[in-house]
């Protein structure tokens, strides 16, 4: 049983999980404040004969306090969040040394196009593999997301990466995996009755393993 986010598997996980924890603490404080207040008032001010409620229409000072504190907290949270948001999603943030792959989504499969030995997409030695995503650990990758038919969403939980693939659009999403091993790629946007089984295997290799795998594919190896 897992009670937390999945294990961290990319460079995004650090800041995102940190921010998640920060929000959990802030909202946790607010929640405890409200719920403890509520329970205390329910017990302390329960109706008893002979008691009379305190007649008041409010307090401007209290209103200012509980308007200002949430406002400042939210603006600060927005500024911090935006820093990481730009780092993850902005087009200009894709590292120059990123290794580009094509990912074409269609009902109900992922077609991953690899650049082959020349490391360039759109050349004759490109090859396409269904439902398998192979990448190198500690190396920035950028997936060029397209869709054949309806909206799908590229989601690898360990990488904290999600990006819709939209027909008619070409969207680049980058990441850098930090852990080798086997993971899963799921579709996070309802794309039809086969949505649930639109699944691919994700392999994070060491550079040598990856080279070997590409060579094997180029030699016409099995998928």
């Amino acid at each position: 049983m897992r009670w937390w986010l999945p294990d961290a598997g990319s460079t995004f996980a650090g800041p995102i999980d940190g921010l998640f924890l920060a929000i959990l603490i802030i909202t946790g404080i607010a929640l405890v404040l409200v719920e403890v207040g509520l329970v205390t008032f329910v017990i302390r001010y329960r109706g008893r004969p002979g008691r009379k409620a305190f007649y008041t229409h409010g307090s401007t000072r209290a209103e200012v306090i509980w308007t200002a504190i949430p406002a400042v907290t939210m603006v600060a949270l927005g500024l911090i969040s935006n820093h990481y948001w730009v780092l993850i999603k902005d087009k200009k943030s894709v590292p120059a040394n990123a290794y580009h792959l094509g990912v074409h989504a269609k009902q109900f499969e992922w077609q991953v196009t690899y650049p082959g030995a020349d490391e360039k997409l759109g050349t004759t030695d490109d090859f396409t593999v269904r439902n398998q995503l192979h990448v190198i650990v500690n190396q920035p990758f950028a997936v060029e997301l397209t869709s054949e038919d309806v909206i799908h969403s590229f989601f690898v939980p360990e990488w904290r990466l999600k990006q819709d693939a939209v027909p008619g659009m070409h969207i680049t999403a980058w990441f850098e995996a930090t852990k080798t091993g086997e993971f899963e790629l799921g579709c996070a946007e309802l794309c039809g009755m086969g949505h649930y089984k639109m699944r691919a295997r994700v392999f994070v290799h060491t550079p040598d393993e990856y080279k070997a795998w590409v060579a094997q594919q180029a030699a016409g190896g099995t998928e």
Partner: protein, 594 residues
């Protein structure tokens, strides 16, 4: 249109003659009485609430026990189940129609159709709505829309398979969704429902502006009326956008217009912008009236004036205004310009401010009160505690980087249910119990009501809280079988736990249904003011007659004068009670032409 409030002030005898006995059909079926229309909405939307709940139970069966035959599934046709096991296409239809029924035909009409109709004239001292016949048309159109939507279960290929949000191009292309007639019926039903909503909203707005009794100034209106008024403005502006989008989607389906299909020059994201431009204000349509009614009930239960009345009014307006500029937060992962994402993040985070103001003011109202824990008050307290969780969990998704792993997972499902069930539905249990005497002249059973509240509160949290955890674990929304994913398998026991809790939650609602129906005939007869409340509606007998007051009543003070020093040994001071020191308000001048 004659303004009814002004037309009948001196006509006691005239008024009585006007309300000569009517046939059963005119009185209960084709009624123009706002109270009867409210009650009609109540019965119809409670029925759709039941339908939505039954769909939810099937969803939970599949998620808890994928591949096991659904108990009683044998009665479903082969197109939905195979050997009793729910098919993937039927599962997608279940989630799509559960959302559709709950949002459009249960929660929205329960809050707006029932309580805007029932409460606005009663609480502002009006004889009826500004346009009673349009009001009647609004109900019949809503019922028609509901029947059209229900019919889609009985057509070839069944109802929609693209979620209640109907994302295009899936919803725009029958060849990709596998749905034909069902998709058209969804669009037509939504257009009809939109018409009903717009008619209703125009009526509520006009009534609040024109038909307030003398002395009922804007800032003497109860927060329920404020909330319903602002909600009506949201409705009249938001629903037409959805109608337009639904017509375009219908054309894509039957005429091949390709508005939303990039394969022939359309734009996939256009649908999402249009849908959420409606959809986000809609979320506030689904919570503002609940907040308003809860405010009235908490003041009553605390025997204290509402804390910070003016900030409460401005918070309602603030939420409504911000509600128009946050729709993009549903599209953070859509490939929309990330800079736009930053903008929508800030506006979304700012909504936390008026929401926090409301929560703290409810607490402020209870502070140093003399609390009466009647059933409506218990449910209102449940609302405050659960809405707080729903509001706070929204901050996680508003912060765009944190939204990346959470978007389109069960975390969102948990969030929406904390707002719509923990929020709106608890408020509705409170409101139904509270105004039941005014509707039917009897009081619902208190013991059953309390038992229902406590059991619902427990099972509700057992159902929806763990959804946060499986969402953090990454379980995507709307997947038919989570167990095929290795990373989701370890948390399957929690899915089983949620399913058992959900079945218990559903079963507990039998208590409410029984209490509601049984009390119609066998409930205790209600005294005129069963909750010792200040509202104008309690100056009338229970149930109130057609036309409400024989003479237009006067309003002498604000709605929350509980425990006021002038009240003497009583702890409430109704708006309609004239103290020796009170002067009669000067009636507003008649509109030109009268």
């Amino acid at each position: 249109m004659t303004s009814v409030a002004h037309a009948r002030p001196e006509g006691g005898a005239h008024g009585a003659a006007h309300h000569a006995p009517m046939s059963f059909w005119r009185k209960y079926i084709f009624s123009t009485d706002h109270k009867i229309i409210g009650i009609q909405f109540l019965f119809v939307s409670l029925f759709f609430l039941l339908v939505g709940g039954l769909l939810a139970m099937q969803i939970r069966w599949q998620l808890g026990f994928p591949g096991k035959p659904l108990p009683g599934g044998g009665i479903l046709p082969e197109s939905m189940v195979s050997g009793g096991v729910i098919l993937p296409e039927y599962y997608v239809q279940l989630v799509s129609m559960h959302g559709t029924f709950m949002v459009f035909f249960a929660i929205m009409p329960l809050l707006v159709g029932v309580y805007a109709n029932f409460l606005i004239p009663l609480k502002i001292g009006a004889h009826d709505m500004a346009f009673p016949r349009i009001n009647m048309a609004s109900f019949w159109l809503a019922l028609l829309a509901g029947l059209i939507m229900t019919a889609s279960f009985f057509v070839p290929n069944g109802p929609i398979r693209s979620g209640w949000t109907n994302y295009a191009p899936l919803a725009a292309r029958p060849d990709l969704s596998g749905v034909t007639v069902g998709q058209m019926l969804w669009c037509i039903s939504i257009v009809v429902l939109g018409l009903s909503s717009v008619m209703g909203s125009l009526n509520y707005i006009t009534t609040v502006i024109n038909h307030r009794a003398p002395g009922m100034t804007w800032f003497r209106m109860p927060l329920s009326v404020w909330a319903l008024f602002i909600t009506a403005i949201l409705g009249v502006l938001a629903l037409p956008v959805l109608q337009g989008a639904a017509i375009m989607l219908l054309f894509d389906n039957i005429l091949g217009t390709h508005f939303f299909d990039p394969a022939a020059g359309g734009q996939a994201l256009l649908w999402q912008h249009l849908f959420w431009f409606f959809g986000h204000p809609e979320v506030y349509i689904l919570i503002l009236p609940a907040m308003g009614m809860v405010s009235d009930i908490i003041a009553n239960g605390s025997r204290k004036p509402i804390f910070g009345y003016h900030s409460m009014v401005f918070a309602i307006i603030g939420i409504a205004f911000l509600g128009w500029i946050v729709w993009g937060h549903h599209m953070f992962m859509s490939g929309m310009n990330p800079t736009l994402g930053s903008t929508f993040m800030v506006s979304t985070l700012l909504i936390a401010v008026p929401s926090a103001i409301k929560v703290f003011n409810w607490l402020g109202t209870m502070w140093r009160g003399n609390l009466r824990f009647h059933v409506p008050m218990l449910n209102a307290i449940g609302f405050v505690s659960m809405f707080t969780i729903g509001g706070l969990s929204g901050i996680f998704m508003a912060a765009t980087p944190v939204d990346i792993p959470l978007h389109d997972t069960q975390f969102i499902v948990a969030h929406i249910h904390y707002v719509l069930f923990g929020g709106s539905l608890f408020a509705l249990f409170a409101a139904i119990t509270y105004w039941y005497p005014k509707m039917f002249g009897r009081v619902m059973n208190e013991g059953i009501g309390k038992l229902h509240f406590f059991l619902t509160f427990i099972f509700y949290n057992m159902t929806f809280f763990p959804m946060h955890i499986i969402g953090m674990g990454g379980q995507m929304r709307r997947i038919y079988d989570p167990t095929i994913y290795d990373f989701l398998k370890p948390q399957q026991p929690l899915n089983v736990f949620i399913s058992y809790s959900a079945f218990a939650l559903f079963a507990v609602q039998i208590l409410f249904a029984f209490n509601f129906l049984w009390s119609l005939k066998f409930g205790k007869k209600a005294p005129q003011n069963p909750w010792d409340d200040n509202g104008m509606e309690w100056s009338l007998p229970n149930p109130a007659p057609h036309g409400n007051w024989e003479r237009t009543p006067n309003v002498y003070r604000g709605p929350y004068e509980f425990s006021a020093p002038e009240a003497g040994d009583k702890d409430f001071l109704p708006q309609f009670l004239k103290l020796p020191t009170d002067r009669d308000p000067v009636p507003a001048p008649l509109p030109a032409g009268h």
